[in-house]
């Protein structure tokens, strides 16, 4: 009995760790999409964020500086996306995909050049500073709930970020304006809200959080740099946004679900099951597809469309 509880607590702990980067990226994407901009560049931003965060921490010895650099990189990449889609009114899907392609390539390139000369410039295999788990005395010993208190500092930050994100979106003036811009930019404009500014702001914010999520991967979840460290988490975060119906609190649920499957899968592999590893690795992605299909089906059935009405559409005031 006690053993089962311990195992469950352990799985929960891993679940949260695996879900952290997803929550950062998904909450950011929810804010971006609420302004009407679809950012498919998430994967590229997370990868670039991960590699620059690790490189910075490796050379400066400060993981915090690494997080800052990753956030900055995410912001710059998102600003490019905002410029292309808001100012130049480019197709949001094309712009986002280009940024992911670019970011993936850039991250690999940097991973092979930023490392020390002793390792042929390669970052792979280097060990740098990291955010280790900080166990909170007493609380972390409680079964099940203890999982919440055996995390790294970046995960603890989420405990504040998520409620804040929910409060801001639904209870503040700015949140109201943001929702209006994504639903009906024409009305928002007529009511004196600066649509362009709003879209830039929240696209850049989304990029910043994607970079943050990337930093968590290379500084806490799987410290170090390996090629494709995200394992498609940028894409899963985008799927989570749909699962969450553009609600930050529900995004946490989705991230836990995904993280949970990951944790169970690891656990199973470690226990030496006869199921081939490839199938277990496939599980989270399979689950993502399944969830998307079910959500879309349910949305159609209940006539509830959660997506911001103006998502993906460029806005121009004097269109006649």
């Amino acid at each position: 009995m006690i053993e089962a509880l311990l195992l469950l607590t352990q799985i929960l702990t891993i679940t949260l760790r695996a879900g952290t980067s997803l929550i950062y990226a998904a909450v950011g994407e929810i804010y971006t999409e609420r302004s009407g901009i679809l950012n498919l560049g998430l994967e590229g931003m997370m990868l670039t964020g991960a590699v620059t965060a690790f490189a910075t921490a490796f050379y400066t010895g400060s993981p915090w500086l690494g997080v800052l650099v990753a956030m900055g990189i995410g912001m710059i990449m998102a600003a490019i996306h905002a410029f292309l889609t808001v100012t130049m009114r480019a197709n949001q899907v094309v712009s986002g995909l280009s940024i992911t392609l670019f970011g993936t390539g850039l991250a690999s390139f940097l991973g092979e050049r930023l490392g020390p000369a002793s390792n042929n410039g390669n970052l792979v295999g280097m060990v740098g500073p990291r955010f280790g788990p900080l166990e909170i005395p007493v609380l972390s010993q409680v079964p099940l709930v203890g999982a919440l208190f055996k995390q790294d500092i970046l995960t603890y930050l989420l405990y504040a970020l998520v409620p804040l994100a929910v409060y801001y979106l639904y209870k503040t003036r700015n949140g109201l304006n943001l929702r209006a811009v994504g639903e009906d930019p024409q009305t928002a404009d007529a009511m004196g809200i600066d649509v362009t500014r709003t879209r830039y702001l929240y696209t850049i914010l989304g990029g910043m959080l994607a970079g943050f999520g990337g930093a968590h991967l290379s500084l806490a979840y799987a410290p170090g740099w390996t090629e494709n460290i995200t394992g498609g988490r940028g894409w899963i975060a985008i799927a989570l946004v749909i699962f969450a119906m553009w609600d930050p609190a529900r995004a946490v649920l989705g991230a836990i679900l995904f993280g949970g499957i990951n944790a169970v899968q690891f656990r199973l592999q470690a226990s030496g099951t006869t199921i081939p590893a490839a199938y277990l690795n496939m599980l989270p992605y399979l689950m993502t597809i399944l969830v998307l299909v079910i959500m879309t089906w349910w949305e159609n059935l209940s006539h509830r469309i959660g997506a911001p009405a103006a998502l993906g559409k460029a806005y121009m005031r004097e269109e006649k």
Partner: protein
């Protein structure tokens, strides 16, 4: 109150000019508004009323012109600037976010509120204002749950909540029932009694008479008349609105009607929102005859054209073409029964912009020989056809291969005419065929329509230009709120009568 007793206008617009590509939406338009008064802005669709008001609320930037509020020169760059000056507008298409509540919509974009507004406090204030002006609405209801009339009340509440002193109402009664319109009149009265002023955009004469103290008539972007409401009458306004001068004198032979080609029997249809747009429309057109449809835009014209061409389902009644029942047939079946269509939206529905002029001209005949044989197109024959049409219809294009979107509106329309007339075998449906065209192109289009009539075809001509209808139609039917108000012979009809019928006045001159 009137101009004499309060000589300083609260609002003045001078020489406002605004261009859109190809259109002069406002041409040195002037406007004056006095405190406590209602100014009616009268004009046909496209006369530039809404553009002028969008300039006033900062949604459009004027190319030229000055605006004075309370005697001070002001620059209005955005709706926020307008709100600061106490100017607010109820748009024709409501500016409300359907997925948000009434209260959320009302405070949207406001800056003088706490960072996290207390919604119960907001709701309380809304109820206060609702009671004062008799504008009942639940602050916590979602917009999508409200009727159109209620949504309009939210729009007005929104302006009052922000303390607007100058209210602009863009065709506010277009979506209201007569009872709701009446209620709106009382609300406007209460607001002006408190010293607020209003600009009322409309093309309905009765409303001008009922609501306003002053009226300005606009035509083609210009203000063509300024009248005191008390010193004018609906007949005069109708004439001013449509324009006096007869622009064209086309030679027209007497009409020699043949067999009935198109017949509508008690046809009803819904609009895109599922509301009734046509209510029991009946008429027939003979070969060798042009039947004109007059009416203010949005009274069922679009739906009428779509019903006849198979683009919209009929909910009740019958459509007969050449004596055969053709109700709710597919567009292809309708085309095959000899119907041609010159659509209102010529860029969107008439042509494929990124395809060559030649391909656009062939777009109707390509299914049959000689343009196609055994399912394979003959590009050379298509080109030949196009060259012939370009010649006959005098389409100004660099080459038959030019993408049609690069041509002017008039030449695109000529290309559509070429295609539709070439394929026409009985009925030609022309919707606003000369809208936005210059004088020369307009004349060419009208001549072609007359040619078709003289060749024995039936023409259904939907137009918002009464002059055009009087010039080339043989009979004119007036459509109002989806009903035919009457059918008049064109040679005895006059603009005053038609204008009144278009505004829903029941003139028993059938």
């Amino acid at each position: 109150m009137n101009a004499e007793s309060s000589p300083t206008p609260i609002l003045e617009m001078r020489g406002i000019t605004k261009h859109f590509p190809g259109v002069m939406a406002n041409d040195h338009a002037d406007l004056e508004l006095y405190p406590g008064e209602v100014l009616a802005l009268l004009g046909e669709n496209g006369a530039g009323k809404s553009t002028l008001m969008n300039v006033l609320v900062g949604l459009y930037r004027p190319d030229e012109g000055e605006i004075y509020v309370r005697g001070q020169r002001v620059e209005i760059h955005s709706p926020r600037d307008a709100a600061t000056l106490g100017i607010g507008m109820v748009h024709q298409n409501f500016m409300l976010v359907p997925t948000m509540t009434v209260a959320e919509n009302i405070i949207l974009g406001m800056t003088d509120l706490p960072f996290a507004p207390r919604m119960d406090e907001v709701a309380r204030r809304i109820r206060e204002i609702s009671q004062r002006y008799n504008l009942e609405v639940d602050p916590n209801a979602y917009i999508w749950q409200l009727s159109v009339g209620e949504q309009q009340r939210v729009e007005i509440l929104k302006l009052l909540y922000r303390g607007a002193e100058i209210l602009i109402l863009d065709e506010p009664t277009a979506v209201l029932t007569p009872q709701e319109s009446h209620e709106l009149g009382r609300i406007i009265k209460r607001m002006t009694d408190e010293g607020k002023s209003a600009i009322f955009i409309t093309h309905k004469m009765e409303e001008v008479m009922e609501f306003s103290q002053w009226v300005r008539v606009m035509q083609a972007g210009k203000v063509v008349a300024v009248k005191k409401t008390a010193e004018t009458n609906p007949q005069e306004l109708a004439r001013l609105m449509v324009g006096r001068e007869v622009l064209f004198r086309l030679e027209k032979d007497a009409c020699t009607p043949g067999d009935v080609i198109l017949e509508l029997r008690d046809v009803s249809a819904d609009n895109d929102k599922g509301l009734p747009a046509l209510r029991g429309v009946s008429f027939s057109i003979h070969g060798g005859e042009i039947l004109g449809i007059a009416g203010v835009a949005g009274n069922g014209q679009r739906e009428l054209a779509e019903v006849v061409t198979g683009l919209r389902k009929v909910t009740q009644g019958k459509i007969l073409i050449n004596g055969q029942e053709r109700t709710n047939k597919s567009p292809l079946e309708i085309i095959q029964s000899g119907v041609s269509h010159i659509p209102a939206d010529r860029i969107g529905m008439g042509v494929v912009g990124d395809m060559a002029v030649a391909d656009n001209i062939a777009m109707k005949g390509y299914r049959q020989p000689p343009l196609t044989e055994h399912g394979i197109l003959h590009p050379r024959r298509i080109l030949e056809l196009a060259r012939r049409m370009i010649e006959t219809f005098r389409i100004a294009t660099p080459s038959p291969q030019t993408h049609i979107k690069f041509l002017s509106g008039g030449n695109i329309q000529k290309a559509i005419l070429a295609r539709e007339i070439d394929a026409c075998a009985g009925l030609l449906v022309a919707v606003y065929p000369s809208r936005g065209l210059d004088v020369g192109a307009t004349e060419a289009v009208r001549r072609r329509l007359l040619e078709q009539r003289d060749a024995g075809r039936a023409v259904l001509l939907i137009s918002e230009d009464l002059e055009e209808l009087l010039t080339i139609a043989d009979r004119i039917a007036v459509l109002f709120e989806g009903r035919v108000m009457g059918i008049l012979p064109a040679d005895t009809a006059d603009i005053e009568t038609l204008g009144l019928m278009m505004a829903g006045a029941h003139e028993s001159k059938e």
